[in-house]
């Protein structure tokens, strides 16, 4: 059936598929708060890094 489809329709379906995939992926990240769960793991690494920076600490 796909073989007989006009090329433009195939492209449209592909674009739609990609958009749907992007939407599903980002929506899952959003609803399960995966973005924040990831950044919560990054924070301790950054704090360790800041502790190692030489600083001119004084009043």
């Amino acid at each position: 059936m796909l073989k007989n489809m006009p090329k433009s329709l195939k492209i449209c379906l592909k674009v739609l598929g990609v958009l749907l995939g992007l939407f599903t992926g980002t929506f899952l990240i959003y609803i399960f708060n995966l973005d924040m769960k990831l950044t919560a793991k990054i924070e301790p690494l950054l704090l360790k890094h800041y502790d190692r920076i030489p600083r001119d600490r004084h009043l």
Binding site: F32, M36, A40, Y50, D56
Partner: protein, 521 residues
């Protein structure tokens, strides 16, 4: 997962020992997709920000930048339980503030000697305090008015309750007293810790809002002037701001500050731009008054953190200088009017009408959302939102050019917080009871910032007057920037105890009464 407001048990979103919540809220298809679209926009704003190498460099240099990992969570905290127009109002404000802070950070790092080091740009930068009206910059469109303290301390602690503990400790390690306000103490700590961007042609510091603020400014200006070669002007606005006899002095301070900026930047004051900004200040005032008028009725619309956070930003940090905020004012008013016509309510049940007074805990700004969802207490307005409503001169005439100095002085004197914590007991005490009457409030939630000398002295006078008027007065102690002294649960417990023992009430959402958010951002 529920579309209907109040069906969800919000306490179930919290995970003990975790920085973040287990999931985001389902608000029905339409509102969830709207919230998702705004989340995408925030992610794009953050993505654009980190696409610049100098911003990545700054992220790896400045400890306080780690707090910006929590931006989407801050929005989630303030949108908890919101639907329809309320959700849209919150996003209109929060998204604009995020955008504005991202631009501020981008500009700071552009001029910063350690990261972007754009020296030509830096020559156009005037540094201002976080706690300072930016009225003196209304006539300098060719200059950049940037605050280092806003993103390093003020916004950071809104994002992450623990953000300032390191800097408070640094300040105290160097001998600064532990019982001053932790806000200026943390600002001083950032400077001592060599963690403030270095840029600018000059800086304007203001004696707002208290002795602690003066202490912090002294430490910061010593480094700015002595080491970084950035001259600092001390704008000393009168504390007794309601007295007529201080106004000429206050206006002269404004003239002096403008002359100082002109001298160090080579820029010339632009009256046309000033009066354009003045028009926007007046428009923002009219909008705020309309929202407050609605909040006097049975159907308050722009209230709680929707009112508090936006007013702080728009009134003080923006002060008419950014046209986008005028658009936001218009949109917010339209949304509020729509919701008012529909007689909408933001929560399942409204039990008490409250005025929130005193200086709120910045590590728990979403406490106002909690009050509504847990106990049905509607925070109609708060002390920091009850700022000047006096229109300023907005037509460019010779008389108004003279008046403008007095208007800028008036705004500076009436900066958020200082307009109530200084100026005599009338502005702090008497007007509170006038507001409770005007807003038909039966409750006052009184923040007691335990390190604020300006407020603590009046404890007994508040209690006496509340007793006379039959108002339920609930004290809520906190230490502004430091949740190690009184935790978020410590804050909630004070309300829980009052509501259960004095009011003999049960919470609307019992899952919110005790939350495991000690480790949370």
């Amino acid at each position: 997962m529920a579309k209907e407001v109040g069906k969800d048990k919000f306490g179930s979103f919290y995970v003990a020992g975790s920085k973040v919540r287990n999931r985001r809220e389902w608000r029905g298809v339409k509102d969830t997709l709207y919230d998702y679209s705004r989340w995408l926009k925030i992610m794009m704003t953050l993505g654009k920000f980190v696409a610049k190498p100098r911003n990545v460099k700054a992220m790896l240099r400045y400890r306080w930048m780690a707090n910006y990992l929590a931006v989407p969570m801050m929005v989630d905290r303030h949108t908890q339980g919101l639907r329809g127009e309320y959700l849209r109002m919150c996003h209109t404000e929060q998204d604009l503030i995020i955008d504005d802070v991202a631009k501020l950070l981008d500009n700071l790092f552009r001029g910063d000697r350690r990261t972007g080091n754009d020296t030509e740009f830096s020559k156009k930068v005037v540094l201002v305090d976080e706690n300072e009206m930016t009225a003196v910059m209304m006539g300098f469109p060719m200059l950049k008015c940037l605050s280092r303290e806003t993103p390093s301390t003020y916004v950071s602690v809104l994002l992450n309750q623990h953000a300032m503990e390191h800097y408070i400790d640094v300040a105290q390690e160097f001998g600064l007293a532990g019982d001053v306000c932790p806000m200026p103490e943390a600002e001083a700590g950032v400077s001592i810790d060599d963690d403030a961007p270095v840029l600018g042609a000059c800086a304007i510091q203001c004696n707002t809002t208290c002795d602690g603020s003066l202490l912090g400014n002294g430490v910061i200006s010593k480094r700015l002037e002595g080491e970084d070669g950035i001259p600092v002007f001390q704008l000393a606005a009168p504390l007794r701001h309601r007295e007529d006899d201080v106004q000429e002095y206050a206006a002269q301070e404004i003239r002096n500050a403008i002359a100082f900026i002109e001298e160090h930047t080579g820029a010339k004051w632009d009256w046309k731009e000033y009066f354009e900004c003045a028009k926007r200040v007046n428009y923002a005032t009219r909008c705020r008054q309309e929202w407050l008028d609605m909040n006097r009725t049975e159907y308050p619309q722009v209230f709680g953190s929707n009112l508090a956070l936006y007013t702080e930003t728009n009134y003080m940090a923006i002060c008419g200088r950014v046209a986008d905020f005028e658009k936001a004012d218009r949109k917010l008013t339209k949304l509020a009017e729509q919701a008012y016509k529909k007689k909408m309510r933001a929560a399942k049940e409204y039990r008490h009408r409250a005025i929130v007074w005193g200086v709120q805990s910045h590590f728990y700004m979403d406490f106002l959302v909690w009050l509504l969802n847990c106990w049905g207490i509607v925070p109609l307005t708060d002390m920091l939102s009850m700022v000047s409503t006096k229109p300023i001169a907005e037509e460019d005439t010779p008389e108004n050019r003279e008046q403008a100095y007095y208007d800028m002085a008036w705004l500076t004197e009436n900066m958020i917080m200082r307009n109530r914590t200084h100026g005599g007991y009338k502005v702090l005490l008497d007007e509170l009871w006038e507001f409770t009457e005007q807003f038909n409030a039966d409750m006052v939630i009184l923040w007691e910032h335990i390190c604020c000398k300006a407020l603590d002295g009046m404890h007994g006078m508040f209690e006496d007057r509340a007793r006379e008027l039959g108002i339920n007065l609930v004290w809520v102690q906190h230490d502004l920037f430091d949740p190690r002294i009184i935790s978020r649960q410590g804050v909630r417990d004070q309300i829980n105890l009052y509501m259960r023992t004095v009011m003999r009430e049960e919470p609307i959402d019992p899952s919110l009464e005790v939350l495991p958010d000690e480790e949370s951002w």
